[in-house]
Symmetry: C2
Subunit: 343 residues, 2 copies
DNA sequence: CAGTTATGTGAACACGCGTGCATATTTCGA
DNA sequence: TCGAAATATGCACGCGTGTTCACATAACTG
């Protein structure tokens, strides 16, 4: 129980001294509170001497305007919610790092939710108590309810990695289907015929699209997947998936729904099964995370352009803030096949 | 310029409709605004029928109390600043993911700053405009000025990965020196004598301590580092550092200040120089990131216990919030040598 | 010098909320 | 039936800001 402490005790505990306020500065500097406010407002009428005196006093006292109180007047809070699912997928981490960096650079402050799958809905609900300028959501399975909530609260939502068909929602996503078609085509052209697939969580829209891309391209060649396993987008998940796959079938190629699983699969195939890649078995991933380019892996993969995605998210954000009424925009980002050493 | 748009234009742009407020709910439900407030306050006197009616109306309108306005009354904001330096170091990413997850689980909402080194000070200054419950800082070189600012604003600061000698600041850090002593001892015991060192940015306190640990343990054996290179804690940095190191000297072992560089060094030694690890050359890292355990690397390293660190940070946070006046606490976390295949 | 404009300035208000206070209504005991 | 205790409710205040408004002073103009 968090509330089992006696009330008297809690009352006795000295209430944290509030932070220094504009009124404090005013009193110390011997000016009106209005003057303090004006001292921090560029372009406001205020005697230059007095302004300097106020700023000096403010500095001494460590005062700075409370952004939250200011936001009550209608100012933007510059607070942006960022929701990212389980961070076990390295691509999510790279996305988060890039996004945080970009947001900071343009003076937005991200409140980050993520890491844990369970309780995420609840966390998002809590975070909506804050007057966010916007909410940025990375793929995942967060549903329509979220959109409704945000709409009612006038908080714009931007999806990254997932297309939402909603008239007022912005989103940027990769052409997953096309990317997988490119990957499978490459394998077919180099003579592979028994092609397996390691997928991610089936609820994710990215997974559905990638799976569809693989299946449809194979069908066009008169083939079906030699084997198919579902996993969790993680390195370890890729390893176990590969184990299962090799028990069921003996494919000559495996397409993985993301790089983390592809690396796990590659590692298992090489180190545990003593297979030679790509001679015995080709492996292709999706995302092009930094590790894919490391010499140990040299993974052939489909690039899911990170920088472009983040740039588009920021553009959508700024456009939306400039014009809240504009219709929702869907930005598609082009994948690119990166040929390395595993195909 | 962000301000080059004509003022008239900005005024013409329809001011974003404010979010639904308690007064709106009150009017719609036909009750007083106080009743709405009480409906959301557990334990407040309010007719149960009326409470239900208010909650129903609130749900329909998508109302929820504005946490920021509430915080003006003295309530905690549950907002916590999190500052992490360049995220090119995978350990930082792991730390961030774990911390965010833990904070979310206990109802704190992290405002994350990081990714970019330049402008970080400025960002931190900006973020202090918000009434944060606390500020959590990951290592780095953020200085005394920050502490002064936060003290004046009554915002507690918690350092992770760095010891600060300040009477009212909490911090949790790893015994870097001890960890390196363990690493070097292992190498010496297996007969290595020409031991090189790849360090991180010299301004970081963790780097200073790790370097000192290596140098002092070597000195105790009557040795000095066979070679010494400074890099940037990244994988690529580790590669170039290894190149430089092998030009200057031919060590029989290399200690790296973190795992990312160790993996880069390992990769370069194996793939570019055709060295056999550990026969030709031993390599030891620091941190024990997830990748260190992957079969491709199987890196011997010093574990910098992540979970324990994050748990301690959260404990310090909660203790500090419960008792703002308590003296600062320094928690030291024990490193542990993890013997794998590269020594 | 009178009249107009530019420049400073403080009081007062609004923002959205929780809560103390005074009052209104109901419940209970005798 | 009456008083007291318990329950329910609206008004008003304050939290820390930015900004409008009315007003005071200074600086020009003719």
């Amino acid at each position: 129980m968090a509330h089992d402490r006696p009330l008297a005790d809690r009352a006795a505990q000295p209430r944290r001294r509030a932070r220094v306020t504009a009124a404090d500065v005013a009193k110390t500097a011997g000016v009106s509170r209005s003057a303090v406010s004006r001292a921090f407002t560029p372009g406001a009428y205020l005697d230059e001497d007095k302004r300097q005196r106020v700023l000096k006093t403010a500095m001494d006292l460590g005062y700075r305007p409370n952004a939250l109180a200011a936001s009550l007047q209608g100012a933007a809070t510059d607070l942006v919610g960022v929701v990212v699912g389980g961070l076990s997928n390295p691509y999510d981490s790279e996305w988060l790092a890039a996004l945080v960096s970009a947001l900071n650079a343009s003076g937005k402050w991200p409140i980050v939710l993520g890491g844990q799958a369970e309780g995420l809905d609840e966390s998002v609900t809590s975070i909506l108590s804050y007057p966010l300028d916007a909410l940025i959501v990375r793929g995942g399975s967060l549903g329509e309810a979220l959109i409704d909530n945000c709409t009612k609260l006038n908080i714009p939502v931007i999806f990254s990695g997932r297309v939402i068909s909603h008239p007022a929602i912005d989103c940027v996503a990769c052409r997953n289907h096309m990317g997988m078609v490119q990957a499978v085509t490459l394998l077919l052209e180099s003579g592979r015929r028994r092609i397996g697939y390691i997928g991610g969580p089936p609820t994710l829209s990215s997974e559905k699209e990638r799976l569809a891309g693989v299946v449809e391209r194979l069908a066009k060649a008169g083939l079906t997947p030699a084997a198919q396993v579902t996993s969790d987008y993680s390195f370890d998940g890729g390893k176990s998936a590969m184990r299962a796959l090799l028990q069921d079938a003996s494919p000559d190629a495996v397409v993985c729904a993301n790089d983390a699983m592809a690396l796990g699969a590659l590692s298992f195939a090489r180190n545990t099964c003593n297979l030679t890649v790509p001679d015995d078995l080709a492996i292709i991933g999706f995302d092009d995370i930094a590790m894919a380019d490391w010499a140990e892996f040299d993974l052939t993969t489909v690039r899911n352009p990170l920088e472009e995605t983040v740039n588009e998210v920021l553009r959508l954000l700024e456009d939306r803030l400039a014009n809240p009424q504009k219709p929702g925009e869907v930005v598609m980002v082009e994948p690119m096949l990166v040929k390395r050493g595993t195909h």
